[in-house]
């Protein structure tokens, strides 16, 4: 099977980079003090205001809903009033989010930074995010009702990608704005581990790992008093008592 480099192979490369990058960061940042320091810096760069955070959460959730449940989206959009309402909300959210991102990017570029490489990575991540948001907004303007046709075209594309047989034709037949939007989404995914924002995921991963370890050790810990009480050693080697 020959994969299209942009929409067949690139998504897998981006996913691989995301997983490997997060794991590398997890193993490299072992000291909790370093982790908390990086989290403080990341908060300064990416936190922004409430509007930025709310709009990003709303947009990410929307993309998740559209891709995971296209039928529900199409049913919702079957009534013109509901379609207009959804598209208006999404358009305003994306516009607000783009504005907030511009502010964030400008403040990041204007800050006198000490460490060049992490700052460059953050700037690259924010820029790709900007491209994704801007292309999404342009799509809403020039290719009307993306919530409907996106559910029909991009959801099967993502599904085919997750099943290991990416139908890149679905995206290749789309206007360049749509292609740019999809490509930048995967680029954001690939650059995410390089940005300081990924430290939050690393922290969550660390908590998950320690919680799993705790859960695994729990039965052993619970059995300890019982094993002490019913120690078979006394029965096996009575002379040692």
């Amino acid at each position: 099977m020959k994969l299209n480099p942009l929409f067949g192979a690139w998504p897998y490369v981006a996913l691989g980079l995301l997983i490997v990058g997060i794991l590398l960061r997890y193993f490299l940042v072992r000291q909790l003090s370093a982790e908390s320091m990086e989290m403080t810096t990341a908060r300064k760069i990416f936190r922004g205001n409430v509007v930025w955070r709310a709009s990003v959460i709303l947009l990410v959730s929307w993309h998740f809903v559209m891709l995971a449940s296209p039928t529900a989206v199409l049913n919702w959009n079957s009534r013109p009033v509901r379609l207009y309402a959804l598209e208006s909300v999404l358009f305003i959210t994306a516009a607000v989010s783009l504005g907030a991102l511009v502010v964030l990017l400008r403040s990041h570029l204007q800050t006198n930074n000490k460490s060049l490489l992490p700052d460059l990575c953050d700037a690259a991540f924010l820029t790709v995010l900007f491209v994704g948001l801007a292309s999404g907004l342009a799509m809403a303007i020039f290719d009307r009702w993306a919530s409907s046709w996106g559910a029909l075209i991009l959801s099967p594309y993502l599904s085919s990608f997750l099943h290991g047989r990416p139908s890149s034709d679905l995206v290749l037949q789309m206007p360049w704005l749509v292609r740019l939007h999809v490509f930048s989404a995967f680029a954001t995914m690939a650059l995410f581990p390089l940005s300081r924002l990924s430290i939050f995921v690393v922290a969550v991963l660390r908590r998950c790992v320690s919680w799993t370890g705790y859960c695994i050790a729990l039965p052993g810990r619970a059995l300890q008093p019982w094993l002490r009480k019913h120690n078979p050693a006394a029965w096996l080697w009575p002379e040692e008592d």
């Binding site: 993306a146 409907s148 029909l152 099967p156 037949q173 789309m174």
Partner: protein
């Protein structure tokens, strides 16, 4: 106690009524599905048409004269139904029995006997005969009807399908998801472009071909070999014809952002074979 007995009886009655209604709704749905199928013209068994095409056309024509065997146009009027049934099932037996019609045909066609189609059931043969009696291979699918002959009801059906007010039988998506027609405001999507002048551009024959293949690789609920029923296809063609006429009358210029065929590769492939203007 008496009250409990009555309520138990009532409960059974309600259950019975419920099942009756359920059966009725299933039956009604079946009827509706049958009615919605490609029944633009006379109805016939698709299997019969396939059998005819596979087994009969090698030796017979339908209205094009003698081939190896006789022309089958009007055969159901020339011969009795029972005779045809017996002859198709086992021609050798009928000839051996000394049947005058069978022996005459046998000698007329250089003593070449028709194969005995013993594997065909009586129902299958009946279906083939019914298919031949209503026009056989001459039957035109409903979507090949010229859109200019469309009734207001056909156009309204097309509008319902275009705007998703009625679902397509095989799960295809409403055209309005990606396309729009001039004068419908912002209701339609602009990804696939304006379809107002598509009829004028492609004309009847090419548009019929276009509507036979999916305009995009949608994820449809229906089987891969079905896209639109012939009635749906005709209804859509009627709407596009009507939209073109209305636009021409009002002198409205189409807000054509992109060619409607730019992103319609599957459909465009079929249209490429049929040139605009309906010339093949």
């Amino acid at each position: 106690m008496a009250l409990r007995a009555v309520s138990g009886h009532g409960h059974r009655r309600v259950t019975f009524l419920f099942f009756c209604l359920l059966l009725l709704s299933v039956f009604a749905h079946g009827l509706q599905a049958e009615g919605d199928s490609d029944s633009g013209g006379p109805t016939f068994s698709r299997e019969a048409a396939a059998i005819f095409s596979k087994r009969c056309t090698a030796c017979h024509t339908y209205g094009k004269g003698i081939k190896v065997g006789p022309d089958l146009k009007g055969v159901t009027e020339r011969r009795k139904h029972e005779w045809l049934l017996k002859f198709i099932h086992a021609s050798s037996v009928v000839i051996k029995s000394g049947d005058p019609t069978a022996t005459a045909l046998f000698s007329q066609f250089k003593q070449q006997r028709m194969p005995d189609w013993v594997d065909l059931s009586e129902k299958q043969i009946n279906d083939i005969l019914q298919y031949l009696s209503i026009g056989g291979p001459d039957i035109k699918p409903a979507d090949e009807r010229n859109a200019a002959t469309a009734t207001p009801r056909d156009i309204e059906n097309g509008r319902d399908l275009f705007y998703g007010r009625r679902h397509f039988s095989y799960g295809a998506q409403a055209c309005v998801t990606c396309h729009f027609l001039a004068g419908d405001g912002l209701r339609g999507g602009s990804l696939g472009g304006d379809l107002t002048r598509s009829y004028a551009r492609f004309q009847d024959k090419a548009l019929t071909e276009f509507l036979r293949a999916p305009c995009f690789r949608w994820r449809t609920a229906g089987p891969a070999d079905h896209y639109l029923s012939t009635n749906e296809s005709f209804a859509l063609k009627s709407l596009l014809w009507h939209a073109g006429q209305a636009s021409a009358l009002s002198g409205r210029k189409p807000a054509l952002k992109r060619s409607s065929s730019k992103y319609a590769h599957a459909g465009a492939a079929s249209v490429r074979q049929v040139q605009p203007g309906g010339q093949q």
